[in-house]
């Protein structure tokens, strides 16, 4: 069927819940209301005893999810906006990510924390952030960000079946931006594997989430033959895909919306420096958010990467 990102995620949740009775959904307004973005719509009606509207407390939601997981269930908590993840950071960083290690493998925490993230929807403060670095930096977590409905379904099913804690960020800007064919039958996309969206020899652009689509727009009429990598999983990172590509193209740009300093681009550049420095024909460029608070809607456009900035970076890298 043709589905947008919201529908694809909903389909994945519904199909997995049908199959695996240990899955429980919990969060603010995820039940009768179907979530503020309607991602869980209809699931409460279908699986009444496994979808829970919780009190308004993010640490409580994630902390309880850890306990649910320790007693054999598969909790999928939703945090309404990424900006409200912060109270739950302690539970994620101090416990969810560490319990396997702390108990020497006797316990694990197979939870999937879902949260919409990123800007571009003209929202209030704390509704447009890109906090993925905090989670990528935390040992023991996996971090997944889909760029399209087809991937969202396959990645989410993999995340749910994964025995480790997964942070699943949903780029809210493209929740309903476009539809594509999403098979109703079950399929998975492995975590830790990037997707080479477009092959090319001149330059590698590495990105993820809503910026995959913007990058494709930016290179549409380019005179260069550009390779585009959609990371899909930010942790563990598909280093092979990155290094293989850069070893061939010798040029690289990384696009993300998160702030520049210690954004994922920094790690990718360090990786390339360590392993493929001699393949490089030009300094690697970053097109990212700035090291500032995401502005409110009137100024937000000055924060976001955009097609022009991507094009300028291409010119710079190619003319070096």
């Amino acid at each position: 069927m043709k589905a947008n990102l919201v529908q694809a995620i909903n389909m994945a949740l519904s199909q997995e819940m049908e199959k695996d009775k240990s899955i429980v959904l919990l969060g603010e307004d995820v039940g009768i209301d179907g979530g503020v973005f309607r991602v869980t719509e209809g699931l409460f009606q279908k699986y009444k005893d496994r979808v829970f509207d919780t009190p308004l407390a993010e640490s409580g939601i994630v902390g309880s999810s850890i306990g649910l997981a320790l007693n054999g269930l598969k909790p999928i908590p939703e945090i309404q906006f990424e900006g409200f993840l912060m109270p739950a950071l302690d539970q994620i960083i101090s416990h969810a990510s560490r319990i396997r290690n702390r108990s020497r493998g006797m316990f694990n925490v197979p939870l999937v924390v879902r949260s919409p993230f990123g800007g571009g929807i003209k929202a209030l403060e704390h509704h447009s952030d890109s906090p993925e670095t905090y989670f990528i930096h935390t040992p023991g977590l996996k971090v997944v960000i889909p760029s399209r409905p087809y991937d969202a379904k396959g990645l989410l099913i993999s995340a749910i079946r994964d025995p480790d804690p997964v942070i699943f960020f949903e780029p809210k800007k493209i929740y309903r931006a476009f539809k594509e064919e999403v098979p109703e039958k079950e399929y998975t996309i492995p975590l830790g594997k990037a997707n080479i969206i477009k092959q090319g020899e001149d330059l590698t652009i590495i990105t993820y989430g809503s910026w995959v689509r913007e990058t494709l727009k930016a290179i549409k009429d380019s005179k260069y033959n550009i390779e585009v990598i959609d990371l899909r999983t930010l942790k563990p990172l598909d280093t092979k895909a990155i290094l293989n590509s850069v070893s061939r193209t010798g040029r690289c740009i990384i696009v993300h919306e998160a702030p520049k300093t210690l954004g994922l681009a920094s790690e990718i550049i360090a990786l390339i420096n360590e392993k493929e420095l001699l393949s490089l024909e030009a300094p690697i460029q970053r097109v990212t958010g700035y090291d500032i608070v995401v502005p409110l809607p009137k100024l937000e456009k000055y924060y976001m990467p955009n097609i022009d900035r991507i094009k300028k970076a291409i010119d710079k890298v190619m003319s070096f």
């Binding site: 902390g63 306990g67 007693n71 054999g72 539970q91 020497r104 493998g105 006797m106 694990n108």
Partner: protein, 350 residues
């Protein structure tokens, strides 16, 4: 219109065994002589282990250690009420609870020596690892007990924490969630009067910690935490209530007679006089007095216990110290279900 009282609340205090060893027969829980002796023995074992651990730490044979001197009745009285299938989320000062769950002493000591393998318990021990960040683990107990309810298991969960933890936001969230979702959970606050240096009257202006339960629509009770019978009775009742979907907060009023940990010096913030006053309320002395009056105790019985437990612990120390050293590669092995490529590479760095 004049203001009217729309709700009134009471806070109860439960005490069964007084400082001289006399019990209130109306409140005395049903326990036979064997049970009472078992409680006494576990309290003794806890204390002897605690003394030994402190000694080992001073000799450089153990890492930082948190003593539980004076809190043995809180541990043993409550843990004795647990069924084998019930589950426990301790904090980090629950030696007696671990011993009650039959965790091997050598393994427990290995943890305090700095060896992660010490926290690898068998599943059927039904007790979780130590949790260091104060107050954050009550939510895990909340979730675990919630899963008991969802899975229709007929067991309950206990979580232990200190008076300091009640200032943490997660305490509030766990209490609130537990009450809202009607889970089989018992919260046991070991109010040992200090969070490192901060006395409880600076931790909260509430007259009791037990009363905090009221705000969550939950039953709360203050219990004499140095009274093993009161702790047993309150916990037993709370576990039964929990299994009917009514969580409870038990405030166990006790006193941490030792330092916070071996890195602390409590002389900086409290007087010897205060500590000595609590020594008079010693939980083991009280139980011994009672047992003596019931002919359940004799000096040679206790001498034998001392000898037996000392030997048992010495044996455990030997075992702990001769444990094969953990290997470097282990530090990577438990981060994920499978080693990621990245970690494989780091593991192979030499």
């Amino acid at each position: 219109m004049p203001k009217e009282v729309i709700h009134q609340f009471n806070v109860e205090f439960l005490s069964v065994l007084d400082e001289k060893g006399k019990v209130d027969s109306k409140l005395m829980p049903k326990l036979n002589g064997e049970n009472i002796k078992k409680m006494f023995e576990l309290m003794k074992l806890t204390r002897i282990l605690d003394e030994k651990a402190l000694k080992l730490q001073r000799e450089g044979r153990l890492g930082t250690y948190a003593s539980c001197l004076g809190q043995e009745a809180t541990h043993i009285g409550s843990a004795f009420a647990l069924g084998k299938e019930d589950f426990v989320f301790p904090s980090f000062r629950e030696q007696g609870v671990y011993l009650s769950r039959n965790i091997p002493i050598d393994q427990y000591l290995a943890y305090w020596k700095g060896d992660e393998r010490g926290m690898k318990f068998t599943k059927d021990a039904n007790i979780f690892t130590v949790s260091i960040p104060v107050g954050s683990h009550m939510l895990h107990a909340m979730g675990y007990s919630w899963a008991c309810k969802i899975k229709k298991e007929s067991r309950a969960v206990i979580t232990y924490f200190g008076d300091g933890a009640t200032s943490e936001g997660d305490f509030h969230e766990a209490m609130n969630f537990a009450s809202v979702f009607e889970v089989p959970l018992v919260f046991i606050c070991q109010n040992n009067q200090y969070a490192i240096s901060l006395p409880v009257n600076k931790q909260t202006k509430a007259q009791t910690i037990a009363q905090k339960a009221i705000a969550y629509g939950m039953y709360g009770i203050r219990v004499d935490g140095n009274d093993v019978f009161a702790m047993y009775r309150a916990t037993k009742e709370a576990l039964e209530r929990a299994k009917k979907g009514k969580p409870t907060l038990i405030e166990a009023l006790t006193y941490r007679r030792g330092d916070h940990t071996t890195s602390d010096d409590s002389k900086k913030y409290r007087t010897d006089r205060e500590v000595n006053q609590w020594k008079k309320k010693d939980p083991i002395d009280r139980l011994r007095n009672y047992m003596s009056s019931k002919k359940l105790w004799a000096q040679d019985y206790e001498d034998e216990l001392d000898k037996k437990f000392n030997e048992e612990i010495d044996e455990a120390v030997k075992k702990m110290e001769s444990l094969e050293a953990p290997k470097r590669e282990e530090i990577f092995n438990y981060m994920y279900s499978e080693l990621t490529d990245n970690l494989k590479e780091q593991q192979n760095e030499k």
